[in-house]
Symmetry: C2
Subunit: 343 residues, 2 copies
Amino acid sequence: MHNVVVPEPRRRPARRPTINDVAAAAGVSRGTVSRVLNGGRDVSDAAQEAVEKAMRKTGYVVNQHARSLVTQRSQSVAFILSEPQDRLFEDPNFNVLLHGCTQALAKHDITLLLTLASSLEDRKRLGRYLTGGHVDGALLVSTHSGNPLIPELLSRGLPVVACGKPLGYERQAAYVAADDRDGARQMVEYLRSTGRRRIATITGPLDTPGGIERLAGYREALGDSDPALIAHGDYTRAGGEAAMRRLLSQTPDLDAVFVASDLMAAGAITVLQLAGKRIPEDVAVGGFDDSQVALTTQPPLTTVRQSYPRISAEMVRLLLSLIDGESPAAVIVPTELVVRESA
Amino acid sequence: MHNVVVPEPRRRPARRPTINDVAAAAGVSRGTVSRVLNGGRDVSDAAQEAVEKAMRKTGYVVNQHARSLVTQRSQSVAFILSEPQDRLFEDPNFNVLLHGCTQALAKHDITLLLTLASSLEDRKRLGRYLTGGHVDGALLVSTHSGNPLIPELLSRGLPVVACGKPLGYERQAAYVAADDRDGARQMVEYLRSTGRRRIATITGPLDTPGGIERLAGYREALGDSDPALIAHGDYTRAGGEAAMRRLLSQTPDLDAVFVASDLMAAGAITVLQLAGKRIPEDVAVGGFDDSQVALTTQPPLTTVRQSYPRISAEMVRLLLSLIDGESPAAVIVPTELVVRESA
DNA sequence: CCGCTTACCGTGAACGTTCCCAGAATCAGT
DNA sequence: ACTGATTCTGGGAACGTTCACGGTAAGCGG
């Protein structure tokens, strides 16, 4: 290293005070101290006061491991990020979700632990960590299907709530998801209500819940439609552009397109404008997510919003109920059409 | 809620298998199983195999609380974000730091827990959590001074390593910081070596280590300079713009400016160009951080880079040594001049 | 064949809590 | 004064590990 300064040495305290030390200092028994610690029921004012004073004096802090060992509760839950997380952190919606969960859990005096697991090795260690009793439950944001952590945690009986439908485990894992299908339906019906007749769609990857459900909603609103009106994307801007180009060449007379994500929609808009189409006059464009980009497109994007505060609240509620021994459930939170200028 | 589907009920396993169950299943004693669990020294091949088989059969996972209770180790450390964290998550450098720490800790089979504490209430709960023995140590990214968690953790004897000089606790807390002063010095000396003679600076807030140290490096390189060459910013783009305007009016003949962050430098460049100055011909501009924006300015920004992978590695090394009982140290990692077109 | 070393194994104690139960003390009602 | 209820307290047991210690058996040199 370049330079090392060694400040004055710090000695670690010899031994942490235990509940017995407090009891001795307060002149009461272990049991009484424990009662004070846990709500103070059945303890006289005098004892209560003596114990509190003794705790201050000794600088006592409860040993969570000892407590957890007997209560079988750790008062903490994990928030698992098992994707290569770089993209997620940049997503402001993700921040809202995370923050919402932290707050909701805080109300129950539960700490949220964010754990990362990108590599396989990480995931293994994390599996051990989680099933070792360190946490009471886990919140999982699983964008892709086939996350190997899900079956592992499930088989250990660890309460797990997924954000977004956990493909392949819909029946076993609890989850909360936005009503993708209904959102898509709303959007397409809105497009129709404004007189559009050739409504195309760019879907997400069909191995993601959003890909599947949003397409289903599109179909639901339209009945069976011309297959030439459907193109598949991959949630990236470039993917949206490519899909839009395919649609334009397949179906030049389309007058609206419902795109399964805002980012792809931004790509689609670029391509449309390059092709000389005016938005929304010639082609109406609808997105999904109501993310940042929806406001930066030209014109601003009509899109579908999902309420992240709501989602986080429901996730926590569900997790706590699982921890309490209830059986898993799926919660679908409503989505809402946000009309701007693009449609 | 909008819709609830209840999949088939999942029953929680009656009881987790303990080390005794494994011992019974393997026909050996508790002690032997424990030995297998901890490296397998002094255990015969036959016993080893029997135990491993029994563990698979019973689905045994060690109870971390029980283990931690006796070993006084939790094999996990906290990564504490106590600022309103929204800004941090968006910083790609932060991701590098986080990832680096995770990896470095993984080598020692230690799990990293990311904990958020924005509100005061959060911070309290977090304090309890951390000092309750849940973690063996903490990594702290403290951009501002006066973080109340530092003294608390310190007084509890919890090993803490800060990223960036923890103002007010430099002597007591271990930390690793980039060599801000030297980086600034390098930059200013480089500017002088290209013939610049009226070198101004825009500083960061003077209650942050970066603000103080980078200014010190500037002074070090220049000897005492004209106070009219110094303006203070707040690390935001707007702050950089304002400071640049002040400098231009105070000192219209400046021919270079060292800006204490890339973002402020981007603001400064805008103002300079609006004032009709060519960069670098009329005014050379140097930044600090080598962040994303350094590449997007016009022209690309000459700046100072700090090695985040290096910083994370040193932080972990330092923390582990603290946990092993060593006394705290400060590590300063070198900074490096990155020359691009703006100077 | 004896004793010493080595490899392996079992057991009791400890870690610091909570929980439960039994008992003491107080009090009110008869 | 006796009973019964109520409030408070103390202490044993348990949670699931690790660790130090002691013991047994086998191997080996003399």
